[in-house]
């Protein structure tokens, strides 16, 4: 599974990255975390509010910082979907 944090380096983007790290640790499964800072990469997801969270190429949240438990539940759903 791959999680991307989209954002051009604003303060909130760093917060979201930290939140994602925490969620991954809590989920306890192998997840690859990546920071996407290039504008044209970000635009490919059609995101107009940064930061945004992308799990397996799906935009899960944009313009807000979802709490870690919410991210964990997304990770779990994505993991279930991937193994099915």
């Amino acid at each position: 599974m791959k999680i991307k944090v989209l954002g051009t380096g604003c303060a909130k983007c760093k917060l979201l990255y930290a939140q994602a790290e925490e969620a991954i640790a809590a989920a306890g499964i192998g997840v690859e975390l990546e920071k996407v800072e290039k504008l044209d990469e970000i635009m490919k997801y059609g995101v107009m509010m940064t930061p945004a969270l992308v799990i397996d190429e799906q935009v899960k949240a944009s313009g807000r910082i979802p709490p870690a438990p919410e991210i964990v539940s997304w990770i779990m759903t994505a993991a279930a979907k991937a193994s099915a």
Binding site: C10, G46, M48, Q58, V59, S62, G63
Partner: protein, 361 residues
């Protein structure tokens, strides 16, 4: 047999339904208690400020120091309480509007009606100048005309909920409505003019080559009321947590002016009679980057000391609507002539509003 399955199906949710209803009732009660408590506290601020100044500190009634102290002790909690309430409410309202939805509404719009709609949406769509660039690219590459995009970009920061509610709280609904009406007018007119001028050549070339993903982009997860309430709470923590020092500083300056500056001091510099005060107010306002919360107490003090309303409105719009940092951010996607045109057209609109109110009122 079917009867039985029906039974089994309703029985389990019945529990769920009642607990859900209970949760809803208790949430409603909580909101009600909070609202009543807020109101009672708000009403007691004035007597408290008087008691604090004249009974506790035993200051002489009518002295300058006493006036300044009373002003500060009354205004600071009042403005902060209004701010918290409004930011919370707007945080919830904004959870219903996403830039993605706004973009869909605006894509392919004809210019004039598009300018009007974009300005109105600019008021309610969440916007932060830090994401002005992705928003700009997202709009112009998916069929929102350049002028319409500008209407949005002008309205979004200028007609700001914090400004509106503080104006309402401190000066009444007329001034708030005036600010909103003229702000919308400037956003619509300036966007329209920029659209007419066909300035697409001054947008950085790579912008139009960017492939913007459509259909995705929005928040994928539907929000519950809990999420919305949390959005409101987060907005309060974020915005009030950031602006309170500016608000207090603004009120302190206001208190100083209130107590120590003679009643008609500002009339000579910022009164109706001085024609150059409006352009000067606009020019001073551009590099000043303050949020609405910090500027309004100063505005209040200026008005109270005889400054003309048009001049003060122009100053405020210039501070909030024409910000240097935002122009620097937009430089990534716009060539300098377009940024200057943008600033010029908006500045001109603010000038017109300033003069208009000085003449009419």
């Amino acid at each position: 047999m079917p009867q039985e399955t029906y039974q089994a199906r309703t029985e389990l949710p019945a529990d769920e339904v009642s607990s859900r209803r209970w949760r809803r009732v208790s949430r409603l009660a909580l909101v009600l208690i909070g609202a009543v408590g807020w109101w009672l506290l708000y009403r007691s601020l004035d007597p408290f400020a008087k008691w604090f100044t004249y009974d506790l500190l035993k200051m002489a009634a009518g002295s300058r120091m006493a006036l300044a102290v009373e002003f500060f002790v009354f205004e600071s909690p009042k403005v902060l309480m209004l701010l918290a309430l409004v930011v919370f409410g707007v945080g919830i309202v904004r959870s219903f509007f996403t830039p993605e939805r706004t973009r869909r509404l605006l894509a392919g719009r004809r210019e004039t009606s598009g300018n009007v709609l974009a300005s109105l949406l600019g008021v309610v769509t969440p916007f932060c100048s830090c994401s002005a660039v992705p928003l700009f690219i997202g709009f112009v590459t998916t069929g929102v005309p350049l002028g319409v995009t500008f209407s949005f970009l002008i309205a979004a920061p200028m007609i700001n909920e914090v400004a509106l509610v503080l104006l309402f709280g401190l000066f009444g609904w007329k001034v708030a409505a005036l600010y909103m009406g003229t702000g919308l007018f400037i956003a619509i007119a300036a966007g329209w003019v920029i659209g007419r001028l066909h300035l697409e050549r001054w947008v950085e070339g790579w912008v139009y080559e960017t492939k913007t993903g459509v259909g995705q982009g929005g928040d994928e997860t539907p929000l519950t009321w809990n999420d919305r309430a949390r959005a409101g709470r987060d907005a309060v923590k974020d915005i009030v947590g950031k602006v309170w020092p500016y608000v207090l500083a603004g009120i302190a300056v206001g208190a100083g002016i209130h107590g120590y500056v003679p009643q008609d001091f500002m009339a000579s510099i910022m009164g109706k009679g001085t024609w150059w005060s409006v352009p000067l107010a606009v020019v001073i306002g551009i590099p000043m980057y303050s949020n609405a919360a910090g500027i309004i107490p100063i505005v209040q003090a200026l008005l109270g000391k005889g400054a003309a309303l048009g001049t003060v409105l122009a100053f405020m719009m210039s501070v909030i609507g024409l910000s240097l940092p935002e122009m620097v951010i937009l430089r990534k996607v716009l060539k300098i002539p377009l940024i200057l045109t943008f600033a010029g057209v908006v500045g001109l609109g603010i000038l017109v509003v300033g003069y208009l109110f000085n003449i009419v009122l």
